[in-house]
Symmetry: C3
Subunit: 449 residues, 3 copies
């Protein structure tokens, strides 16, 4: 924001704050309602919970549901057996159900094997998981790739268990079946694609990642109503195995991906955190930063690291796609993360709405981030005779709109995109874009292809 | 200034402070006298005021005065009709001249059309311009490219005007004529040119830009007495249309321009502000920064933007010349800007002298900024046997002069100029230059062409 | 250290502090003993003191001693005559020896010519050197390349000298002889070399540079016990003329030098200062910085300048070798520098040990700084099925060891070395290296040649 005067900066904050205030209530409610509807389902990386989730999304957007058979080889991985769970509980010596899957699907370690047996407290404890730092919360645990079974419960409850015999029952199946994922493709004028991906494998966890699912679904819905330049692909995939499977079957498409975003943890009350793509200076990285700067709110940008969400796969070295990850508070940095406290009261409609608006701004920025050629590049063209410049000269400060015209003319040498110009000028992207439109209308600018 | 010890830094400040104190009084007085002599003339982008200004400069330097006919097409622009004004006033109902062009040429909106009529206060007010934030000052306004007329006056006076009938008279002409500008070319050993440009279109405004005109004229005078390596071209041009016209008729020369400076606002009491060229890292950019660093005084460096003085034209995308702009307080950042308060008491002889010395230092740095090849590049040559190194070793600190020799030898691999070496070593350019001269005299260095 | 959490940072400091505490006492004592043994010898750039020094080093390591005849042309220099001194003193009028070379070899200006005469105090004073700021210390002075003679003494003693006649005697010879230097070459798997150099020309000065000699000698001894990838060359050379001579006779080898370190001033109580190579971003530069960061202690990195130790020659423009200089307090920045106060109590065994360990860490980092190719670069390979990843998922933070695996996999695209990966991840080099070893053992990684 070199060169941005404090005054202009304040103005921008005001205008965005204003935009924030008028953030459409209905979209926040709709996003929240979708989160709430999806919350009770017991999702995992496979199984009926995932399919029910995809079915619900299908009511909102055109979603193609892919079914990939267990045992399919995908790069170094194998699509696992499908896991389905019907019931699970622990009864104490008196026969009382002290842990009940029906009360919270977090009680069961994901991919637990079928079991029905009695055992001592000492034996049972080997299969119990708690979060001692948060004694009232049930943690979320999985064991996808090693056969095991287990229960999660509050640490307080664990500490109150008395010696004796316990009955454990897990009525689950692990059979050849399918890995299910959803794909929504919106065809644009260009074959070049923008990718949006979110994970759909977590059970009753609201921020991680029903928030991401809801934002992605409503983005797809919003874009589907528009005439688009880029094509857009929305992926609703189980974490890790999902993108690996998709990448394995879509290698020939990858060169078309111009930008991508992994969406996660978008409903909490924190500011935005953007994790850059492995490329670090891709259009997506600069677009997100520009949009976040324009919000006037504090935000954080972190470098790529190979730990996190599915950007890990998109940014693996053979692909190195320009895919970043937008979050509010990142995974592992909020205490409620992967516990029963990441529930429906942890996410807020207005935060979901703000996340939706921000993501949409990023996508629309990319959509409009063209590169132009100044057709009168020798000196400035005479804007005044075209009515584009104040008639009375001598005033002390150029108006931002006039500055935007000058910036677009000066930088449009075919190397700089509108995003580059917005970045260097410190002016809002929308103002740069509308300057380019005006100049185009007057025949002073032409798109560079 | 990496590597510059605090001690050396203090020494430099002292020596420059000393230089400052001994800044030749006569040059400051001469600069100020020129500003004062030019102050009363009513300049605009064309007309007799401009020609009188150029005539006065011609007494000082060899100036070629170009006359470009009205109607000449220059890129996207057309040379306007020539504007000349003889008189202008407003009389109130009692016949009293309440606004009189003869008292201040700022009273008239530049390029006002001929008018002689009577009108009500309400009608008159549509043609009156004031500066409410500074109620005692007359603002400066123009309407070059849209036919109009108007008067500027103090806001206090405006607020005291009573209803009634007013007589306005503007005795001005707008006829086919000429755009006049001055060019002073100093031929050097090389055809490569250094450009210095200033605008000459403002009426009685001292800092913006009689200061620039005076500094440029005395620079031309000073250089004309020297044997020069580069050729130098000084342009005294009306803003915007002037450089556009010059650029249009000199396109084939532009590839020879190695560096350039637009000079403006050089007489006020502020520190220097340097606005970088669009290239951002051209020799001129680094030369100015180095010279300003060596002054030991605070200064500011700002990025290029396409708003400001005539660097806008020189740095338009098709030309992208290495031309920066040196100012003290930039346009629009001092309250007196474009008002009657930018008068002869706003600029000071000693500030003009300091601006002159600083600009001269920049030009001489460029003049001497050669690139050399170390002819003994394998290890250090033995400076001691040539008397270039202290005979008694073991003392704790190398003297700066010896360090300068080592820096020049080490960096002279054909890629680094003396300016590069001065920058990396943190030593004064003059010291690096004299080290190169010494090494050259001993056959250790040869100029790289 | 982007991305390093405060917690991990603290852990690293602890572990290194622990390592520091357990720094092997014996190595510190051995280093100090070598410094003490070498201290009394009167070294200069040639002569018996240098040869005795090399003979003592030969008891420790396999050292080839080169003898280059006086008069040999080496680039711009000529190997000087050999200087040997047997005795020197000043007697006052009463016949009392008031300055005696046998008490301190600093008393004699290095390379003083033979003289035996009587002269007045005024005449004598032209040949006396003192350090007025430190009136009790004897300064160190030389006059290698201009024939002269002189004595150094404390300023206090000088100020107490009374008028009268003095007898001066310097029993020294300057004859055709040899320049002597030592070279220890350790052959590794590769012909690519790592160079370690130190100067051996200073008389009784402990930090500058017996500390460097001792650290270099013990590094050579330590590496000679290992099976090495790179070849290593240790040079024990008189300053300036030594490396110039070596470079002159070894030009054809220089392209093999992959990294180099000049070692000096490594026994004082200051933190480390690393002076970068002229290349500024060579492997050696990044390796030293990484090792110093991992110590958790404050350190300073300074840019290359052509003044200092023998990196001046290695980094001369025709060679521009990737050679930096590691010191604790740099030359000229400690008051004891080049005086009798740089004695055996100024250097400490534990500082020498810490310097040795740090240098060894740098060399071992380079030795292990390979570049790998991820053999499963499409998405992450499934670490879980190989037992390389925690079986129970859902915990909030990845363990550093797991992160290291992911970093190595993600960055091993053939462009990044382990040092690059350690730098970008903020993880300790040793952890990155062991991750690479593990991944290699599982067939996931292969060395890139």
């Amino acid at each position: 924001m070199v060169g941005a005067s404090a005054k202009r900066h304040r103005q921008r904050r005001r205008s965005l704050a204003a935009k924030g205030r008028s953030a459409p209530k209905p979209i926040g409610q709709a996003l929240y309602r979708l989160v709430a509807d999806l919350y009770p389902l017991c999702r995992s990386i496979t199984g009926s919970g995932v399919r029910e989730t995809l079915s619900m999304l299908r009511r909102l957007i055109e979603l193609k549901i892919h079914q990939v058979p267990s045992g399919t080889e995908v790069f170094d991985w194998t699509v696992p057996k499908e896991w389905n769970i019907r019931d699970a509980y622990i009864r104490d010596g008196s026969g009382k159900k002290i842990v009940d899957f029906k009360k919270s699907n977090l009680h069961i370690v994901g991919y637990s094997a079928q079991v029905h047996t009695k055992l001592s407290l000492a034996e049972l404890k080997k299969h119990l998981f708690t979060s001692p730092e948060h004694p009232d919360w049930i943690p979320y645990r999985t064991s996808y790739y090693e056969e095991n079974w287990g229960f999660c419960l509050s640490h307080r409850q664990l500490s109150e268990l008395r010696d004796g015999e316990y009955e454990v029952c897990i009525d689950a199946s692990m059979d050849a079946g399918f890995l299910s994922y959803g794909e929504c493709y919106l065809e644009g004028e260009l074959k070049d694609e923008i990718l949006v991906s979110c994970h759909i494998c977590h059970p009753s966890l609201a921020n991680d990642n029903l928030s991401g699912i809801a934002v992605a679904a409503f983005l797809a819905k919003a874009l589907s109503a528009l005439s688009l330049r880029f094509s857009y692909r929305f992926l609703f995939v189980p974490g890790t195995i999902g993108p690996i499977t998709w990448l394995c079957f879509n290698e020939e498409r990858l060169s078309r991906i111009r930008a991508g975003l992994v969406l996660a943890c978008l409903g909490d009350s924190g500011g935005f955190t953007y994790k850059k793509s492995r490329q670090a200076d891709a259009d997506i990285d600069r677009a997100v930063v520009k949009v976040l700067q324009e919000t006037g709110e504090p935000f954080e940008v972190i470098d790529f690291s190979p730990y996190g969400y599915d950007e890990r796969q998109f940014c693996s070295p053979a692909f190195n796609l320009p895919v970043g990850c937008l979050m509010r508070t990142p995974h592992g940095r909020f205490p409620e993360y992967h516990t029963s406290a990441d529930n429906l009261s942890f996410v807020r409609p207005e935060r979901l709405a703000d996340s939706f608006i921000t993501c949409l701004a990023v996508l629309l920025l990319l959509e409009n981030n063209k590169r132009f050629i100044n057709l009168k590049p020798k000196c400035e063209p005479q804007l005044g005779k075209r009515g584009l410049y104040a008639a009375i000269g001598g005033g002390s400060a150029g108006k931002s709109e006039q500055l935007a015209l000058l910036w677009v003319l000066n930088m449009s040498d075919g190397r700089n995109s509108l995003l580059d110009i917005a970045g260097r000028s410190g002016l809002p992207f929308s103002m740069i874009r509308s300057a380019a439109q005006k100049l185009g209308a007057y025949g002073l600018l032409e798109e560079s292809r």
